[in-house]
Symmetry: C2
Subunit: 484 residues, 2 copies
Amino acid sequence: MLPNFLKQRAYLTPNRTALVFKDGILTFVELYKQVKETAQKLAGRGMQPEDTAAVLLKNRPQTVVILHALQQLRVRTLFLNHRLTTVEMQYQLQDSGAKWLITEKDFQEKSVVLKEKVQVIQRETLAALPSADYEEAAEFTLDDVCSIMYTSGTTGKPKGVLQTYGNHWWSAAGSALNLGLREEDVWLCAVPLFHISGFSILMRSVFYGMPVYLMEKFNEKEAVKLLQSGCITIMSVVANTLQRILNELGEKSLHPNVRCMLLGGGPAPRPLLEACAEKQISVFQSYGMTETSSQIVTLAPEDSLRKIGSAGKPLFPAQIHIVSEGRECKPFEHGEIAVKGPNVTIGYLNRPDANEKSFRDGWFFTGDIGYLDDEGFLYVMDRRSDLIISGGENIYPAEVEEVLLAHPDILEAGVVGMEDEKWGQVPAAFIVTKKEVLESELQAFCEVRLAKYKIPKKFFTVSDLPRNASNKLMRRKLLEWLPS
Amino acid sequence: MLPNFLKQRAYLTPNRTALVFKDGILTFVELYKQVKETAQKLAGRGMQPEDTAAVLLKNRPQTVVILHALQQLRVRTLFLNHRLTTVEMQYQLQDSGAKWLITEKDFQEKSVVLKEKVQVIQRETLAALPSADYEEAAEFTLDDVCSIMYTSGTTGKPKGVLQTYGNHWWSAAGSALNLGLREEDVWLCAVPLFHISGFSILMRSVFYGMPVYLMEKFNEKEAVKLLQSGCITIMSVVANTLQRILNELGEKSLHPNVRCMLLGGGPAPRPLLEACAEKQISVFQSYGMTETSSQIVTLAPEDSLRKIGSAGKPLFPAQIHIVSEGRECKPFEHGEIAVKGPNVTIGYLNRPDANEKSFRDGWFFTGDIGYLDDEGFLYVMDRRSDLIISGGENIYPAEVEEVLLAHPDILEAGVVGMEDEKWGQVPAAFIVTKKEVLESELQAFCEVRLAKYKIPKKFFTVSDLPRNASNKLMRRKLLEWLPS
């Protein structure tokens, strides 16, 4: 049990800035006031503790207010990635048992479809709703579920990752012990709030009493302007956005107040890191996933060139093991990365099968392959199940393959990541078909079922897919089939 | 469960400085190595997990090593205040069931007496002991008891406060969220390690990866030299030591690197705070006790003059209530201060009576009287049971009275604090006697039973003590009887 997070923060440091955005700022006491009003509106609409509410909202101040209001109501928040199709969203709504969807005009086309499954609340009309009192929790129970984010894996169906209040607390505490915490810290959030990378910034803000500068969408011009202004000290980036910042920066430098660029969402290419070192940009590389409520392993800048390619060492409350054939690996020996710590998810929603597979003796088996060097630095070799990382978004081949296999003329499908200058990787599909299928038809077929970034950019029709003795698809082999 | 604290720290940042002292430094990996060697020696001597070991050791690097070695062995550490008499120490050894006493030559006179009760290990001869392997814990259980420190209260007998590993973790985490945490932080420890004020610095060092500069004993000349050198950023002080630092400083200032003087052990007089403000010394006043594993309420410097006399607001994970006649008080209404939080002790050892009295609905009732203002700032009016604070040491009148009443010629006794220029307060006793007793005899009687700082500096013989209707001693009245 800890004190009600936002209430405690508003009590402790009411006049500190909580949120900075294009048109203004909100202090913690102002934020808390708006949050309480919004919670009353949602209660007036009928929302109850333990309900699950999906949010399909852009990075806006009002989104922050709504996210906190859901916590005040003790409602579980299901975060919907904007780029998903309505078919994908419907699956998540149904699987999570969401009763509500809070959304906005920008997603009207989608919400028209989704309203069959859930009660839709438009953020624009929230203020007009009747208010009702709700019981304000004096304390938050750390084991209660705060948020649900879907992620896929080796099987095709996405799984809902349960993140507790405690997961978020420990993640933020571990991060502060590692990155330090300064009175003047301001964290630039230009990553989506529906990703753990974005939402974790909001949670840190409350625990630290730290302002978040919220950008609606990443934009290198605006980001560089902010990073040069002196008003930002930390920013969360992925390799792609960091590269775009560097390109935009040209010969110029960042303001010395910028003390940390926290890099997540996959490995960074060496030239990028070297260019940052040259410009004295402190890059903290990290390894983490939705299941670890953001970073769990981080590489300090002082080691970033000495240990190039490494993701670093765990946060203080966390541990990593490399396991192969049931035993712990020696240094440099490759195996599956297992993690443990109070920031690790309590499990997947409604998926006893996946939980049994992923959790053993208190350790969470990530499915990623890696090794530790002789100093205990982690090197991640392959993201789990041949994960494709495209501009910071994770794409799970199995999920794309499942969609392709639903096409009446496709017999087999194998999806892999193809190098791409802009996005790092994009998906490509190898298919075995009954008869010739037009690429335009496949595109159209995918468009209603898969978020755009997941749709294969290339289709290769082949006669067979490479399979091992037990008939398992060998995606690694497919990589060799890609045109170079 | 968290990873084995020191092992994790030595893994994460092996080459960072852990300890600085007069003659050298120790990095975390060096500290860990020495700790493991010492743990082997202690294991060789027969120490077992769950044992209780008392330590009677000065602030020295080897003491730090021993304290960590006891944690590695999962032995509970009983901290003995150096100034206690052997009679007082014997009580604590017996009550805690301590099997061991680790001490050094400087306390030889005392250990000669104490060795009847426990097995004594001399730190000077530790290295010569045979080594034995011990099972190194991969993780520390947060609910396990780490340390025991005795404190008195309204009843005469001191009570052993149980501090868990979790208490220390949460205290350190809460403090970091409040004071911030910087890579360049170095904490000057010139308070005794047997007090929670000192021991908590060691624990923070491990969680933060932060160097501690250890002084054997507070000395204003040496402290000022350090505080002017730029190598110290934070220091724990009490009003008395802060005043002595100011006096020593004269017209000069502290180095700007000193960002926080954490003031505990009772309220600070206004002129002292004003003098610090004038010299731009950032004083963080705080309220805490052995039972809260150090500070639980802290006043930020920006509020220190606006809210003069206040102890501040709770740390993020903690809460305070003011309770009177079973209900929560309104702002400015006086009542008993109750606290709650994961840094609060799990209870007193072997004292179900005291635990029942002090804990209600998860709240710990401190016995201190205070109020909250309309912004929620805490003001402490009276420390519990008319606590006397003398140079940062707590003196409990009931404990001193109990000793006096053991004298064959004393019928009644009442002890109160008397103002003292050097120590803030010193104890004074009012006694009702059978026949005339010489003050020198009383002094001698106390000397074997009470630490020197607890012995009344004045004895006033009176015919009656002020008592209320239920015959309870009214110590408040006695204050009026003191010569002005």
